[in-house]
Amino acid sequence: MASKELLIFEKGNGKSHKNFIPKMEIEGIDIDEIIPPIYQRAQLSIPDTPEIEIVRHYINLSQKNYGVDNGIYPLGSCTMKYNPKINEITARLSGFSQIHPLQEENQGAMEVIYETSKMLGEITGMEGFTLQPAAGAHGELTGLLIMKKYFKSRNVKKSKIIVPDSAHGTNPASAKMAGFSIIELQSDKNGEVPLDQLEYAMKEKDVAGIMLTNPNTLGVFDRQIKEITRIVHENGGLCYYDGANLNPMLGICRPKDMGFDIVHLNLHKTFSTPHGGGGPGSGPVGVVNDLIPFLPKPCIIKTSEGIICKSNNEKSIGRIKAFWGNFGVIIRAYTYILALGSEGLEQVGQISVLNANYLRVLLQKKYDLPYNRICQHEFVLSDKGLPNEVVTEDIAKRILDYGIYAPTIYFPLIVNGAIMIEPTETESKNSLDNFVEVMYKIYEEAHGDPELVKKAPNNTSIGRLDAVLAARKPILHD
């Protein structure tokens, strides 16, 4: 359909619609008497568009988009699991969606926040939680500010933080936003943190601690995790757990028991809230007892008079977002946790790891697996050994031709040409087998018909796009 190429702005017809304007029953006085004309705009250039044109335009656009409801979405470190539809129903109950953040009669909402905090506490082992942060990176910033404030309260100067080279890119960026400089630690040949180098780094002056994800971005559980956290603690540091990879640990092992002091979670990853095309998410932060006073304002506590908010906490890092966090996302996660219960969550951890290992074993028959060992929720292949100069990007684009989404590529940076695959627990064996079959076919194509792969995608609504052109001459709107 050629019309799909048009932007919505070309579909207006100049006829003004007032479908969404309530009746004006009172006699309003002339606008110029309320607001001086000099404060008013001369013109507004957004089109008037018939409703049917808007609906058709976006339904057609939606058909040029791929979500996890279309099929497997094996984006590593993103945990693209199925989003239960009941979540959408509960978040839209008017008692949740139509309430104002500053209204008094809010006990149902406060209970959602309080109970979700408690349950996340049980899942991670942490004693205190805030649900304020709006996404994972926001949670990281919050957690690091807590760290900073904690040391400040003890009059200890700490300006550096250790981040392994396998970390998510948000880790160093968040550390910088919290005012820390970064000591990058190289992973060892098993993808783990080398203890001697960690010890060496911790002996440097002013080191606040470490940011770590475990299992890490190679999908590998660091077997020496207790040693790592011990070394950091013995040298006066704190341990931060990046919860982006918590999914396989559900009901199996808890960050607190690994020795961590601060954790952020991604409700849109582990707890099934929709990714929304890149948000909204939610990034709750949990801490051990000693750090509770530093949590952001307001703190939600339970008293004899019900669940209330406490905002006079002197040691707190302060507010990190207006109101209560992404409440609509929190309800969805709360719904999910209640739905699954303790046994359901444990199964999530188990099956996410089963699915990942199943794919790993089958795919390593054709593709290079640089860290060859049992994985947790994800694993990383590389393009090493592919013939005819076929590279990771080509593989990813060719996957799209088979009507499914590609894994995360070129991340983690410690693997050249990384292909990072996380199937999640909600993929059936059929779906996994289909993915394997596609990957095998592409492997054959790379040998027999490399141009097909290198020019891919060929079956999508558009061919491979020129990223360099987009960045050289940015066109960001019409």
């Binding site: 309003g28 990176a137 948000t170 990714h275 209640l338 684009k397 558009i462």
Partner: protein, 444 residues
Amino acid sequence: MKLDFIPHNEKIIEEMLNTIGVNTIDDLFQDIPDDIKIKKLNLSSGLSEPDLLRYLKSLSLQNKVYSYSFLGAGCYYHYIPSIVDFVISRPEFYSSYTPYQAEASQGYLQAIYEYQTIISKVTHMDIANASMYDGSTALAEAAIMATIITGKNKVILLEGIHPEYIEVVKTYCWGQEIDHKIIKENQLKNEITEDIAAVLFQSPNFFGDIENIEDMVRIIRDRSQKCLIIQVMTDPTCLGILKPPGELDIDIYVAEGQAFGISPSFGGPGLGVFTAKQKYLRKMPGRLIGKTKELYGEKTGFILTLQVREQHIRREKASSNICTNQALCSLAALIYLLSLGKTGLKEIAVQNFQKAHYLKSELIKLSGYEILNKKPTYNEFMLKCPNIEALINECKKKDLLPPLKMSKYYPKLDDVALVCVTECNSQKSIEKFIDAAKNAIENY
């Protein structure tokens, strides 16, 4: 009976374990030391869908939903066209993620490009990003961006900024050791010096006042050429009438976009609108969608661009740590603005002005009440009350969500209410509010 989203049966699990070459699922967790494995989470058992829904419904009923609202203060009740939820509920949109694979994500990429376009049109700013978390964090990131651009380390906030936004800016500034100072508007003349990175102000401000922005900009520019001017709004529907920031020489304009078709939802998720002048493009935080062409063809398409600013490439040198943002809320705002069109957005703004103004003019007729705003106002104003508690109670009796008690944020203003009236307030509801105000004098 509980919900279960795992597709495998026992036999399939067995087969998969065989393929992997292990005997049990536990074998897959052999890297985890035994002493930190847990036996069982101490949570309740799972629930079936009907049981779950019944419970959550009952919980939601503990929150009161009023027929009409007179509360704003950063979160607004505007009418949301039905098609907004219809479009954002399309699973292809809401169950996708950041469009890293552009060729399989053209729908969303085009939609966000259209969002960036419509925001540029409404604000007249050169460029808009794909979104920030909310108005408060957008403002904080704007302040940080200004310190990066200017190399100066101090920002000035005018006191009319939403008090929770001020707190958020303070927290972010503390993280980066940026100095800040909160001043009154009439102190501007004396406070602007060459070492200021930015002045942050809100208009219409938290008290309801619409500032004389042209005057403010002149005062600032006369005293410093380097200082950036950052405007924030909590209800940008006023742009249907008010002069947009792009015509007022504003450097960075941010807003809470919840008013654009997003339900209040206890204050989140909202939408951080973020716009700037073209020259600041490469210092901007957040995702940007750009137009480009096929590599091996001529078709036009859309792609995430200027990613070298971003954390996943630049790591600690990135302009911000933001990754996941509020994409679906951007889509909602886009559909909202398109549904209204220029005619509708203008009409909405006019109704907000007129209805709020009508209520103001009726209230000053009542003895004991006083409107504290000396400047023009949009849909919010400060009402000094003879008995504010009585007014709140009377509102509740009439099923009206009462206005904000200003003392929540400003203890000294203990007899002042911040009243909000939008297009959703019918004449009947406004009359009820006037009755409530009358009763609050007579019956107490």
